[in-house]
């Protein structure tokens, strides 16, 4: 059974509908990632899951039971916690911030101190324990807020862009710690605009666009098996053979960013090591002032380009094209 679920949920601010979700569930022991551009409704979705706002329409269920009375929402918030994108720490030390949260759950004294120390240590920020919360950097505030949430051992842990202010090393540690939370049966969900993070650290990626769930087709994604070695390697992605550059080996996901693919009508003499011949299958406005082409190269690849470039090349449906992409531009995660 889902730990927490939304059914037929719509949420409005005034007359403006910001979210419409027919069904959404978080399973115990799983990590879901919500991706989407700014304003897609990611934060609103997390606030509804955090039981901070009551949806305008629809039902929120925790362990299958619908939340109806104010008391239900309050009880739910004892089991669900959210780390906001710009989290707030209360005045006082880092330790006091964790102690406050634990006290709200009836934990005080030694038990609370041990829990808070363990949470800080897991994120390698034990040294911040006695620091004044108002004198921390943005990245440190984010980590302390995550530690504060971890200390509560919630059944549902929600995080809004948890690594937006973190350096790559901290990001890795943060997501590894979050992945460990699966082990105790927690349901996790994080919002991110980094597709790499979403794919790398979650079991399931959900895309939001304009407040609605969108089918996740982040363009040009392939599951591949990267052969042993370092540096440039050749991988098979469906019918394509291409070169990637990575330190990783084994199963991975690669993406060919639609903006980084070069379209030409003849092969180029260039630095791009990956070249595919195909035909234009569709041309459409991308809604952001550019054009999206779908090119059949044995598999459909999505390419973004400008109106001017499209006109220059004189492309129409069925035109033969060559797509090129540099080894270094192929994203591996």
């Amino acid at each position: 059974m889902a730990r927490i679920s939304l059914q037929g949920v719509e949420h409005c601010y005034g007359d403006r509908r910001v979210l419409a979700i027919p069904a959404f569930e978080l399973e115990p022991g799983s990590v879901a990632a919500v991706v989407g551009p700014n304003g897609a409704g990611k934060s609103t979705l997390l606030r509804l899951l955090a039981c901070l706002e009551v949806p305008t329409r629809g039902t929120v269920r925790l362990d299958g039971r619908p939340l109806a009375r104010p008391h239900d929402w309050r009880r739910a918030r004892q089991r669900v916690t959210l780390v906001e994108q710009r989290p707030l720490l209360f005045p006082g030390s880092v330790a006091e911030n964790l102690a406050y949260a634990l006290a709200l759950h009836g934990l005080r004294g030694r038990a609370a101190a041990e829990r808070s120390a363990r949470a800080l240590d897991r994120l390698a920020i034990g040294s911040l324990r006695d620091r004044d919360a108002r004198r921390l950097s943005e990245g440190e505030v984010q980590k302390v807020a995550v530690a504060r949430a971890l200390a509560l051992q919630p059944d549902v842990l929600l995080l809004d862009e948890p690594a937006s202010a973190a350096d790559p090393a901290s990001t890795g540690l943060l997501y590894r710690v979050l992945a460990e939370e699966r082990g105790r049966g927690a349901a996790l969900c994080f919002a991110s605009h980094q597709l790499e993070d979403a794919y790398r650290w979650s079991d399931r990626v959900v895309a939001l666009a304009g407040g609605e769930l969108a089918p996740v087709t982040p363009a040009n994604l392939f599951r591949v098996d990267i052969p042993p070695g370092t540096g440039p390697r050749t991988v098979r992605a469906g019918p394509l053979t291409l070169q990637v550059y990575t330190e990783r080996t084994g199963p991975a996901i690669i993406a060919l960013p639609p903006e980084d693919i070069v379209v030409s009508t003849a092969p180029l003499h260039s630095s791009a090591r990956n070249e595919f011949r195909g035909r234009v299958r569709s041309i459409s406005e991308d809604g952001r002032g550019g054009v999206t082409l779908t090119v059949d190269v044995g598999v459909d690849l999505v390419v973004r380009l400008t109106h001017a470039a499209l006109a220059d090349l004189g492309l129409t449906l069925g035109s033969a094209v060559v797509l090129s992409i540099k080894t270094m531009a192929v994203r591996v995660f």
Binding site: R77, P87, L104
Partner: protein, 231 residues
Amino acid sequence: MDFFTDGLRRGAELIFSGDAEVFGTTWLSLKVALLATLIACALGVPAGFVLGTTRFFGRRAVITTLNTLLAFPTVVVGLLIWGLLARRGPLGRFGLLYTWPAIVLAEVVLAVPIAAALTAAAVQAVDPRVRRTALTLGAGPWQAHWAVARQARFSLMSGVVVAFGRVLAEVGAAMIVGGNIRYHTRTLTTAVALATSQGDFGLAMALGLLLLGLALTVNVLLQLFQGRGAD
């Protein structure tokens, strides 16, 4: 200038001689002001809190009304309360007119809008993340309100002091509903007005200095409180 220095000298003499009437008047002023502030805050602070934290139909109208009441002429309040308490008025049978509780009542009416409006402004100024964060950490509604109040405590305290200041310095309403009766309803402000009209500049000066001293003491106490909190 002699006129001034003579007044000041006589004022100081009256204060340091421990004149019973002067101290009685001071005590009454303090009692009325403290009690009225206490009651006004007990009513106005929770009302302001609700106003500042919840959205409901007509909220803007209530805030506009409150802000207008901040500038309500004190003599008009005095007049209205006089009408209520006068023997023929709705509350006439309680015989409160020309007693010190009548002054407290008038001052409460004056101070409630201050307490409510300043509280609403103070809690509205608190980062909305404070309440949300407390709630996401498992706080109940009261604990979340408390978290907001803690963040707004200095502004809330300033509101209390402003209310106390208005009540302490008020003269019109106190004169109308209290009647400025010697030993009974004569407060520092009404006494200053009377002494001045009688030409007893020294007495007026002594009472004025005491009034200033009271206001100063309360503000210094607040400064100390804020200073400690800010560390």
